[in-house]
């Protein structure tokens, strides 16, 4: 299939091979990926727990968002860059791995969930900003966000344990 030859081509490009063959490149990239995902999940949990009315109860939802959102996005950017660098070194192996595919789908789902929140209920935040009882659809959004990101973390960890299990078609 044409996509398979694409992943194969990326993996065996000079750039992909220089990461794969270096003794320190992959672990170093992985280390920054860990810093980034830990920051992403940590700051997202702070926001979602506020939306669920569990923590930061004295603070408005918008002030918690102001504190965390730029960190979430900055860290997510680093996670994407480091993730892409790891991807190019083993592209066809990752594309054959179900945990990797589920992880990518869930990140996309988390993105859609967040976009729906910001395009919908967030526009009327003035009416619920300081309330602990936020609208039900906001609570649903926060719950889904936590579920998606927790499974993303689990999938990410399982990828490392199953790379040899799912082989890419040659």
């Amino acid at each position: 299939m044409i996509l398979e030859s694409l992943w194969h081509g990326i993996e065996y490009s000079g750039f992909g091979q220089s990461i794969a063959s270096s003794e320190v490149a992959f672990p170093l990239i992985e280390t920054f990926h860990v810093f980034a995902i830990v920051t992403v999940i940590g700051t997202i949990a702070i926001m979602d727990f506020r939306l669920l009315g569990l923590t930061s109860r004295k603070w408005t939802a918008s002030s918690v968002s102001k504190d965390t959102l730029w960190l979430t996005w900055g860290a997510f950017g680093i996670a994407v860059i480091t993730g892409l660098l790891m991807f190019v070194s083993k592209a066809s192996t990752y594309m054959a791995n179900p945990y990797f595919l589920v992880k990518m789908a869930l990140i996309a789902a988390a993105g859609v969930n967040m976009a729906l929140l910001h395009r919908g209920p967030w526009k009327a935040i003035g009416s619920w900003d300081s309330a602990l009882a936020v609208p039900a659809n906001v609570k649903l959004s926060a719950t889904l966000s936590l579920i998606f990101w927790v499974i993303v973390i689990f999938c990410g960890r399982f990828i490392g344990f199953t790379l040899g299990v799912y082989q890419a078609p040659m």
């Binding site: 920051t39 965390t68 689990f154």
Partner: protein
């Protein structure tokens, strides 16, 4: 001698110590055998371990960036410390609990490994500084200007703590890459 050579020699030295007998003894205990026999156990506990670091590091970032005056300007330092420090300590408890499970799951791989001991040393130093820091900030809460950021030594401490937690995390990741 390169850094990796030094680590290689550190591993060789660890092989001559009581750590070997102890880790082999742990390998034969029932909890270790159970964890080894269940394929999902190790990555599962590692995932929970990472979630715990997320709670801890997220809290540490919010407190320390607030003291540095970089984030959280809408809330005072005392408010920020009260909001996040209990979650930092809670995250640490979950981290240590899952860390012990992970230690038992692969005793030799972990303990006969210089990165593990680098990580434990960094963790101990970081926790001690965090505790001292928490007490120092708490002692000043009453007369802390609502809008002010940290000053002098406290700012340096806040920046150092963010870096120290990153060193602890890096130590954890590199356990898998010890030169043997």
């Amino acid at each position: 001698m390169s850094f990796f050579d030094t680590l290689f020699h550190a591993t060789e030295w660890l092989r001559t110590t009581w750590v070997v007998d102890f880790s082999l003894w742990v390998s034969n205990t029932a909890p270790c055998q159970w964890l080894q026999e269940h394929f999902v156990a190790i990555p599962g506990f590692q995932s929970i371990h990472i979630l715990a670091i997320g709670v801890l590091f997220g809290s540490a970032l919010m407190v320390n960036l607030r003291i540095l005056g970089v984030a959280g300007g809408g809330h005072s330092v005392p408010e920020t410390v009260q909001r996040y420090m209990p979650w930092l300590w809670g995250g640490l408890a979950a981290l240590i609990a899952t860390g012990i499970v992970l230690l038992v799951s692969e005793p030799v791989r972990n303990m006969v490994n210089p990165f593990f001991w680098i990580k434990m040393t960094a963790l101990l130093v970081t926790v001690l500084i965090t505790a001292w820091f928490h007490l120092a900030v708490r002692g000043r809460m009453a007369n802390w200007d609502r809008s002010a950021n940290g000053k002098g030594a406290i700012k340096v401490g806040a920046a150092a703590l963010i870096i120290l937690w990153c060193i602890v995390m890096a130590g954890g990741r590199w356990i898998a890459y010890a030169p043997v």
